[in-house]
Amino acid sequence: MKWPLLSNWNSTPRTSRRSVLKAMGLAPALAPFVPLFDAFAETSPKRLLLWFTPHGTVYNKWRTSGPAEAPILGPIMAPLERHKKNIVNIENMQMNPDRLGGNHTKGFPLLWTGRGVMPGSTFGDHGWNYSASVDQVIVDALNPKTPYRSLEFGLRSGGSHPGRRMIYRGSAKPLEPEQDPQNALKRLFGNLGASKEQLEAMTADRRSLLDTVNHDLGIFKRKLAAPERYKLDAHLNAIREVEARISLQVASCAAPTIAKRVDAQSGPATPDAWAQQMDMIVASFACGLTNIASMQYRLGENDGSPYYTWLGGTMDHHTSTHEPPVANSKAWAHCEQIYTWYNEMFAKFLDKMSAVPEGNGTMLDNTLVVWGSEVGWGASHAVAKIPFIVAGGRNHGVRLGQSLRFGETLVTSPQHTRLLVSMCHYMGLPQIQSFSEKDNATGGLPGLMV
């Protein structure tokens, strides 16, 4: 078996990969491969994970009380009680928007790119996003040698539209999230379990086919009018990216398992499918497929039906947020239920990350997890008081277990671009001091890092 690209990998010495495998209950059959990736693994790899849920929160039930250094969680955040020492909630963060599109739509690219949507008519009264999202800016700067530069996961995230995509390589270049854990399993871990001979044959077949497609794209591109060739260049680059990782991914890890097959597109299967996507993320990190990933639950545009039937919902999330704030509003009570459940799912994800030992701590200690939303609250469409939560990253200087409370006015509350800059700093890019042309200040988010 040949390992043509191994020499390109960052190979910081480490020892604990075998123990990670053991902790995950991975098959002894993998033992022959273990030394291979021990060689390139790191003890405490810096990782970034972006996490999204739609339509903000019910702010006053979300925010903390008590001392900022030992905060008391609001009822919506109650499920995170067991991870209290692993999180920071950030209060009164705003996103200064470009003024175009509906707020759910423009807030979405805004969340991780710092800019909204461009003028244009592609989507009625607006176009695509302006610029790359923070994770892709980091990817471009670090040029990681992991098999995947980054991995995008989603669940019921809809189609290609700025209100439904949050990760961008550049303007009008959304990255498609993998929305089905079964597909993720097959795509990322599908070759595992095959014999050495089978792997070699599969790899050779794919290379041969991709070579042909590559050649065919070249012929096609020659015939195409120059202004449209960029689409073929992107396609060609994508093929090169896939070719580069073919032989790496087959050897690097063992597949996680999916105990219960569900239709990831169906509403009622959401709790199971989401948990399975979490397993895919954790396994992708543990196996060294990438160090940068995202999880987009639903979409920035209206989180409409189907309902949260597993919470007893008889009205969809988006509509519920638009109900007026009257006393004992059933719709608002339902919203609180939904947001509390988001916190439960987030806590479950943190459980999974904390269960993987890594270096002197856990996977969570090495991973900066940032949870955001496209608006602060659905009905007002306000891009203020976005309920940001940061989790993990203790090994690399995140000051966890506190509440960062900023001034309540738009003048005194910082733009979320500070947080985007902090992510760059965390990942080893101190030279980045502002994010996007609309950024009105510099530096990372005060108080976040040690």
Binding site: R99, L100, G102, N103, P119, G120, S121, T122, F123, G124, D125, H126, E152, G158, G159, S160, H161, A172, K173, L175, E176, E178, N183, K186, R187, D205, R206, S208, L209, L210, T212, V213, H215, D216, L217, I219, F220, K223, L224, Y230, K231, L232, A234, H235, A238, I239, E241, V242, G304, S305, P306, Y307, T314, M315, D316, T319, H322, E323, P324, H381
Partner: protein, 566 residues
């Protein structure tokens, strides 16, 4: 000339201006009658472009120079990837397998109302999906039947297959370089069968299959094979069959008249049902229905199966209008029949037919065509209540082709809550009282309130909360349909006879066929085609027949035909 200026401005600026400005401009444009065009786009090439629907050689209105529409540049050519439905349908026709080609791919991009993958380039994620799907489909195919090699084996079999299957998959014959490329793959395998599957795997990942490959033939004019593909995807939403490719191969699509004749023939094929269903469901937004749900608190017993029944009803209604009816716009908008399942029959308030293919007559005072279908009413509604806003917007955007700007940032756009002692009309009155709302909502709500007889499922109702329904509505700033009306039946009848609606329908077909927004440069062809459409009494087949004879259809782009640069 002042009018012309407004018209031109409106086309490019409704999206970009502040609302008051955009409204004034858009509306000024819509107040115009259907101006005739210079016909400049229809002369000079192909000997007969721009035929009118009446079969005469003369473009309706050609020769007039009142300037209401002027020759302009169409959007430059843009490379599109096949939509999910096009991939699925094409693979079904190419391989005769049950498997789907679009598994795991992103939902299509929407351009206007229609699916068109025109913006987002292929990334590594998609490349891996293409690989996986191609491998699965090639394994599923019965290659012995597909290749039809007979007694030929080895290279002879492979060569024939690359040539024949290649022509179907790429929608044109392969050249020598391509043949060699794919034959090499065949030769690299141990057995013929394996070789054939390997060729299929590669071709399903080829740009010639995945994209609408249009290059012209050293000019802006599409090749006849490319015209065949455009025809096929327009009317059948799938890849052209051997007969259509044969026609292209022997010069049978060289003139606009021949293209039109081919289209007329294709209308008799069952695949036309697929394509026409596709256009109409996207045009009216009904393709969103699968993702909608209704409140089980308000509608006990509601299940998503009802959505499927609504869509099926709409599909059969469209089939009926085209293949059992006269395919006229008025037929689409005013026929009072339905094809309800037993559950949907309850919504209609009729008895379901024992045979789902047999139409059930509905009450002519309650139902008239597409706009009163439960599918349309339920799509443009909230889960728990109807929506005068969604319905008004749907009419403005989909029937009148007027795009509306988003609400301003700082408004509270909460939907007024259902209340036990008020009607929807009473609750939505706030939109007219509050001046920040009124500037937009006066264009929207008075239309939407005309649908008050239909609840969130599209069931007809005479009263709400014990109060009688007032379904009076009004169209304003909508050209020839301006004026008061009562209820959706009367509204449908007004729209069915409107030139503005006819022109809008042409615009929608242009956007659907070309997979891009219609721009200023398309005005003349739209107006010309609308003329032909109207002179044929609103026969949609004439609309399509006329559209395919315009340069917009058989050219890469439009301005270059007149000597401009691409």
């Amino acid at each position: 000339m002042v009018l012309m200026k407004f018209d031109k401005m409106a086309k490019k600026s409704v999206f970009r201006l502040g609302f008051d400005e955009a409204r004034r401009v858009a509306i000024a444009a819509l107040m115009l009658p259907l101006w005739a065009c210079s016909g400049g786009e229809s002369g000079g090439v192909g000997g007969g472009g721009g035929h009118g629907g009446d079969g005469s050689d003369k473009v309706p209105g050609s020769g007039t120079t009142d300037g209401a529409c002027k020759d302009g540049e169409s959007a430059p050519f843009q490379l599109r990837r096949l939509t999910r439905a096009q991939l699925d349908n094409s693979v079904r026709d190419l391989l005769h397998v049950a498997g789907l080609a679009a598994t795991g791919l992103a939902a299509d991009e929407k351009v206007g109302s229609f699916s068109s993958n025109i913006n987002t380039p292929v990334d590594a994620f998609l490349v891996e999906k293409f690989e996986q799907n191609a491998e699965r489909l090639a394994a599923e195919a019965d290659v012995k039947v597909l290749a039809n090699c007979g007694t030929r084996t080895g290279i002879a079999c492979g060569t024939a297959f690359v040539s024949e299957f290649g022509r179907r998959a790429f929608r044109r014959p392969l050249d020598a370089e391509e043949t060699e490329l794919f034959l090499a793959l065949f030769k690299s395998r141990m057995t013929d069968e394996d070789g054939l599957r390997f060729v299929i795997r590669a071709m399903l990942q080829s740009p010639n299959f995945l994209y609408h490959a249009e290059f012209g033939e050293g000019s802006e004019r599409l090749t006849e094979y490319e015209v065949a593909a455009r025809l096929s995807f327009m009317l059948w939403n799938t890849t052209p069959d051997d007969a259509l490719l044969d026609l292209a191969g022997k010069g049978g699509l060289a003139t606009p008249v021949a293209i039109r004749t081919a289209l007329d023939g294709m209308m008799n094929d069952p695949r036309a049902r697929t394509g026409l269903r596709g256009f109409h469901t996207q045009w009216l937004g009904l393709d969103e229905i699968a993702s909608l749900g209704k409140s089980t608190a308000v509608f006990p017993g509601y299940t998503p199966a009802l959505n499927a029944a609504m869509l099926d009803d709409a599909h059969r209604y469209i089939d009926h209008a085209f293949f059992d009816g006269d395919a006229h716009l008025s037929t689409l908008l005013t026929t009072n029949i339905g094809f309800p399942s037993p559950e949907l029959a309850k919504v209609y308030g009729v008895k379901a037919s024992a045979d789902i293919n047999a139409p059930v007559a509905t009450d002519p005072s309650q139902r008239a065509g597409l706009l009163t279908l439960p599918a349309f009413m339920a799509t443009h509604a909230h889960p728990d209540q109807g929506s005068p806003v969604k319905r008004g917007v749907a009419i403005r955007q989909r029937l009148l082709c007027q795009d509306l700007p988003s609400p301003p940032d700082n408004v509270n756009n909460a939907v007024p809550m259902p209340s036990p002692d008020a009607t929807t009309r009473e609750r939505f009155a706030i939109h007219e009282e509050d001046p920040t709302c009124a500037s937009c909502h006066l264009l929207i709500d008075p239309i939407g309130l005309g649908f008050e007889n239909y609840d969130a499922l599209g069931a007809y109702r005479m009263d709400e909360n014990g109060k009688p329904i007032d379904a009076s509505g009004e169209l304003t700033e909508a050209g020839d349909v301006d004026g008061a009306f009562v209820g959706a039946v009367e509204l449908s009848q007004k729209l069915a006879g409107s030139e503005v609606v006819a022109e809008c329908m042409v615009r929608q077909w242009v956007e659907y066929t070309l997979g891009r927004r219609a721009g200023e440069g398309d005005d003349c062809l739209i107006k010309d085609t609308a003329k032909a459409f109207l002179s044929a009494g609103g026969d949609v087949r004439v609309l399509l027949g006329t559209l395919v004879t315009t340069p917009a259809f058989y050219q890469m782009s439009y301005a270059t035909m007149k000597g401009g640069q691409p």
